[in-house]
């Protein structure tokens, strides 16, 4: 049925964006147990920098690349200037630092750029692809592909590489990580660079669909956060599935029930899932014993 298919396409389009944002959360979380509320700003920067660079005459791929590189650098700076100096602070303090960083980045963006809404051309045109009576934009496939590639990359990183294990070890027990020779500062720098880069990638891929402005970060952060928690924080698989699930729930609710309460539906599902699986769908239980 073409109607259902269209709803699914809508859900997948949005879900892929959420999934990309959620994936961005996982790395910093895995390295430090901190949910970086500035993650949404990385997405915003990805979109805004790509727009600005493109408007300044850079070809689109180059503009996107520069956005990713610059945002990663901003991520590293954030770690060096704001997170590292606060080492040893309680997690709530770190969270407030990330919220502060988020406000700061937003404030900077509105000065460096402007307060208008922007976009740039889709990567492979605007001609919708028709499948079984429903349509999807080629750009959605770009976002989809981006989410899957990032997911695979992260999954391999965390399960197959010693460095990935070192990231997990750092959050699990920083003291022990140092004792086995892990440079925990480097791990943090790396994870901020990666997280910010993934965020910027999300922004660059999604902007032709979602549009961008200096203040879109918080919305992305919320949805990405919700997706990551639904899937189980820290697990790339969870981020991917959680993000898509939220997108699909929203689209199906908007299509079949009520567009007004589609966000509510997403949160009701999250509450239900957490009721039965307090660690989210794929989150692992902490194994500390008494």
């Amino acid at each position: 049925m073409s109607e259902l298919l269209q709803f699914l396409f809508s859900g997948v389009t949005v879900g892929a964006v959420y999934a990309l944002v959620a994936l961005g959360f996982t790395i910093i979380y895995n390295a430090s147990d901190v949910v970086n509320f500035a993650q949404g700003e990385f997405v915003m920067l990805g979109g805004m920098i790509t727009w600005a660079a493109h408007a300044a005459g850079l070809p689109l791929p180059l503009a996107a690349l520069s956005a990713i590189v610059i945002t990663s650098a901003i991520g590293v700076a954030m770690n060096k200037l704001a997170i590292e100096p606060a080492r040893g602070a309680p997690v709530v303090s770190l969270i407030i630092i990330t919220i502060g960083a988020s406000i700061f980045i937003q404030g900077a963006a509105q000065i460096v750029f402007d307060k208008q809404i922007h976009s740039f051309p889709a990567f492979s045109g605007d001609a919708p692809l028709r499948v079984g009576g429903a349509t999807i934009l080629p750009q959605s496939l770009w976002v989809l592909g981006g989410a899957v590639v990032v997911f695979v990359g992260l999954w391999v990183f965390f399960t197959r590489t010693l460095l990935g294990r070192a990231v997990l070890a750092t959050s699990n027990n920083r003291l022990a990580a140092q004792l086995v020779g892990i440079n925990t500062n480097f791990v943090m720098t790396l994870s901020f660079a990666l997280s910010a880069g993934i965020g910027a990638l999300a922004g660059a891929l999604a902007t032709p669909i979602t549009l961008t402005a200096y203040n879109v970060g918080i919305g992305f952060a919320l949805k990405g956060f919700a997706g990551a928690m639904l899937g189980g924080m820290g697990n790339p698989k969870g981020a991917l599935v959680g993000g898509f699930l939220i997108g699909l729930i929203e689209a199906l609710t908007a299509g079949y029930l009520s567009s007004t309460y589609k966000d509510a539906a997403a949160f009701v599902v999250i509450l239900l899932v957490l009721f039965f699986m307090p660690q989210g769908l794929f989150g692992r239980k902490s194994t500390d014993r008494v």
Binding site: G88, V92, I97, G100, F104, Q106, A226, M229, F267
Partner: protein, 318 residues
């Protein structure tokens, strides 16, 4: 006789409320003062929930919304006096917190965060979208509390700003007194214990689920009353009061001041209420500076303003 920290805190607060007006350059500062106190009430609730019991909430603005809209709607629909509506709002918030809290307080850390976030968003959504009841995103008028007329009838002559300054100041001190009582009481200790180790708290006989729920309900009532007072003094309320940003603001105020400390809560609320007013001189750099200040405070005073400063102060003492 040594003054207990509790008495000291209450004294400081009383002096603050009573003497500050002598330093006000204009009547406008009564408004800022009363906003600080109203915010502080909600933040004290967060101190109980997060500082004492270690539970995160990213949705407490939802309760503030309930308290506020109770004052807007109950007089119209139920014919209640707005003053009674404050208690009705608090009761609804309490009951709702109890119902919502039972399932979600089993969750830990960020999972609890996202669940409370969901709750807050649901409330704000209903306030926004149930136009027929709430008049939607543009907000709704709130009837006059009438207390000022009463007080002024007793011979005082308070302007609206002055009245709300002193009234919310008194409410805030009352709220602080209750929270301070709790801190060193058996129940407060049980909360702080389960914060430290749930398992150990259970084995010493703390009914962890029940205590968490109590903390959640109490903090919801604080938020609700704060929302009511804000609505009554503004004579107007819009769904922004239940918004995510307001929830975050409450938590930020608590953490900035020092999340375990009642006086810290008041200081945190004070700073974050005053800061935007000060920052207007930076015009478009306002957000930039606000973010910067938040980061700097947390980097250099990582346990929050008050506890960190006290620590240094004591350090020099010895």
């Amino acid at each position: 006789m040594r003054i207990s920290p509790k008495t000291a805190t209450l004294l400081v607060l009383a002096v603050l409320v009573a003497l500050s007006p002598f330093f006000f350059p204009s009547n406008f500062y009564y408004r800022i003062g009363s906003l600080m106190f109203v915010n502080a009430i909600a933040v004290i609730g967060i101190v109980i929930l997060t500082g004492y019991a270690g539970q995160i909430s990213l949705g407490h603005a939802g309760f503030a919304g309930i308290g506020a809209y109770a004052c807007a709607l109950a007089p119209v629909h139920l014919g209640l006096h707005p003053g009674i509506a404050v208690f009705l709002g608090a009761a609804i918030s309490g009951v709702l917190a109890w119902m919502v809290g039972r399932p979600i307080l089993r969750l830990k850390g960020y999972y609890l965060g996202v669940a409370t976030l969901g709750f807050g968003i649901l409330v704000s959504m209903i306030l926004t979208n149930e136009r027929d009841l709430t008049r939607g995103p543009d907000g709704i008028d709130v009837p006059d509390l009438g207390l000022r007329a009463l007080v002024n009838g007793l011979g005082l002559n308070l302007s609206n700003g002055q009245f709300w300054y002193f009234f919310s100041g008194i409410c805030m001190i009352l709220g602080a007194w209750i929270a301070l009582n709790l801190f060193n009481s058996p129940a407060g200790r049980a909360l702080r214990a389960l914060h430290g180790s749930e398992v150990a708290a259970r084995t010493v006989g703390v009914d962890v689920a029940r205590m968490k729920l109590q903390a959640f309900v109490i903090s919801a009532v604080y938020a609700s009353i704060s929302g009511s007072l804000l609505a009554l003094q503004n004579r107007f309320v819009s769904p922004d009061i239940a918004g995510f940003m307001h929830s975050i603001e409450m938590v930020t105020m608590a953490v900035l001041g020092g999340v375990g400390s009642v006086l810290g809560a008041v200081i945190g609320a004070g700073i974050l209420t005053l800061l935007p007013q000060v920052l207007t001189i930076f015009a478009e750099y306002e957000q930039l500076v606000l973010g910067l200040v938040m980061m700097l405070v947390m980097i250099f005073l990582r346990e929050g303003l008050l506890p960190s400063i006290l620590k240094r102060f004591r350090g020099r003492d010895e």
